[in-house]
Amino acid sequence: MPYEWDFLAVLAQWPLLLSGLLGTIKIAVIAIAAGVIVGGLVAAMRLSRLWPVRLLGTIYVDFYRNTPGILHFFWFYYALPVLSNVSLGPLEAAALALATQSGAFYAEVFRGGIGSIRKGQWEGAKALGMIRGQALRRVILPQAARRMIAPFTERSFEIIKTTSLASTLSYGELLYQGMMVASITFRPLETYTLLALIYFALLFSLSALAKWGESRLQAY
């Protein structure tokens, strides 16, 4: 007997799914915004002229690159309260875990973009009498930013998908709410199919937006 699809029962639970979608967007926005700040700082550390500072930046990036993301979620949620008196809610713990790991990845995007600008551009700026910061701000970053867009978008998509790990902390994002819907309706097949479609629609429209943004920066 073929499986009888019934999406209506699942769609009837739309308020749950909508709140899940909003939860996903909320945590993604926090993670990306905070991640950009952390990433900027870590990239600056990795480009520093002081080797201890560079080393710290490298250790930070290597730590996040070489450990699975879900461990950071568990660590901030379960371990932090034991080790300190800081007890975080699921949103705070998940946002912190995502922001710190996305910071490591963004740092590499920023550093890679800056490193891809050839030395002559620094020299051209220096020859006019610019100090390092001026050269970075006026000459290097405007060019590097364009090259960062594609990897930045790629990384941000990874982060949005990684928000689903927050479900393990019972944070009400899309996957967690979906699991609730599945258990209410006894329709996991339809529920997870629908979830995939929602994720796809969200990311696909974002990537269209990113492409449009990139094309607008092709001035020269």
């Binding site: 551009q121 020299e123 051209g124 220096k126 006019l128 009498g129 001026q134 020269y220």
Partner: protein, 261 residues
């Protein structure tokens, strides 16, 4: 009578184990035009790049307008070392202009923006004034029509002329040219050399590293032939090109003009 504008004493530069400059003494008087020639690896570009500290000298002194650049530090055993603070080097670079082999224009800025950039960011000149100065310099190099173009829309020769205008806009006391025509197609070399030649007629102090010996002959008030990190022979263009005294100089001139018309 004022003193030399630029002076080096026992200038040395090593890259790791490789010593590229082995003690250069050079005095540049205001208004002099010095052509630096020599084979590849002779250290001529490195010498030029040490004069505005694109490379930091390993040892020796550089004086700009009579003032030593950097801080002398005496070690306990009496040896002297010079350390260079970023700020001081920035000020030297502000006063010594450089034109690069690869132009190094800023691709995200128009011709006009490239030329104004140093005045606005470094000198904090009001925009309108910077614009006028930049336009005057672009007119001088014959590119008044290209203000709004991006470097990628220009030929190599035009790009190099923009780079010259950009350096001139800072009104440098000394201008350094590092093989300014070496990356150009042959038919574009002339326009850049003509531009440099008009600057020569204005009495500017210039140092030029070049492979264009014919141009060096007409351009220079003095020629340095570098060999193996040292000034092997120097003199007027006439002396170096027509009557070189040393064997290596003679061989280099002959080799370099073997196929000239």
């Amino acid at each position: 009578m004022t003193g030399p504008i630029l002076r080096t004493m026992d200038l040395r530069k090593s890259f790791g184990e490789l010593e590229v400059l082995k003690g250069i003494d050079l005095t540049v008087e205001p208004g002099e035009r010095i052509a630096i020639i020599g084979g590849s690896g002779s250290g001529k570009s490195t010498l030029l790049r040490c004069l505005n500290f694109m490379e930091l000298p390993t040892a020796g002194r550089v004086e700009l307008d009579g003032a030593l650049i950097g801080q002398v530090q005496t070690a306990r055993d009496g040896t002297e070392r010079i350390t260079y603070a970023e700020r001081a080097l920035t000020q030297v670079r502000r006063r010594v202009g450089m034109v690069f082999q690869q132009f190094n224009l800023f691709p995200h800025m128009t011709v006009l923006q490239n030329t104004m950039e140093g005045l606005i960011t470094v000198d904090r000149m009001p925009r309108q004034q910077a614009r006028e100065r930049a336009m005057a310099e672009l007119a001088r190099v014959g590119l008044a029509e290209k203000l709004g173009a991006y470097p990628s829309q220009l030929s190599g020769g035009q790009q190099q002329r923009v780079a010259i205008a950009r350096a001139l806009a800072m009104q440098p006391e000394v201008l350094l040219f590092d093989e300014p025509t070496s990356s150009l197609d042959p038919e574009l070399v002339g326009e850049v050399l003509r531009t440099i030649h008009t600057l020569a007629e204005e009495g500017r102090t210039m140092l030029l590293v070049t492979h264009e010996l014919g141009f060096a002959y007409r351009f220079a008030t003095r020629v340095l032939y570098l060999y193996d990190g040292l000034v092997h022979e120097e003199g007027t263009a006439e002396q170096i090109f027509r009557a070189p005294q040393r064997e290596k100089t003679r061989a280099f001139i002959e080799r370099s003009s073997e196929f000239s018309l």
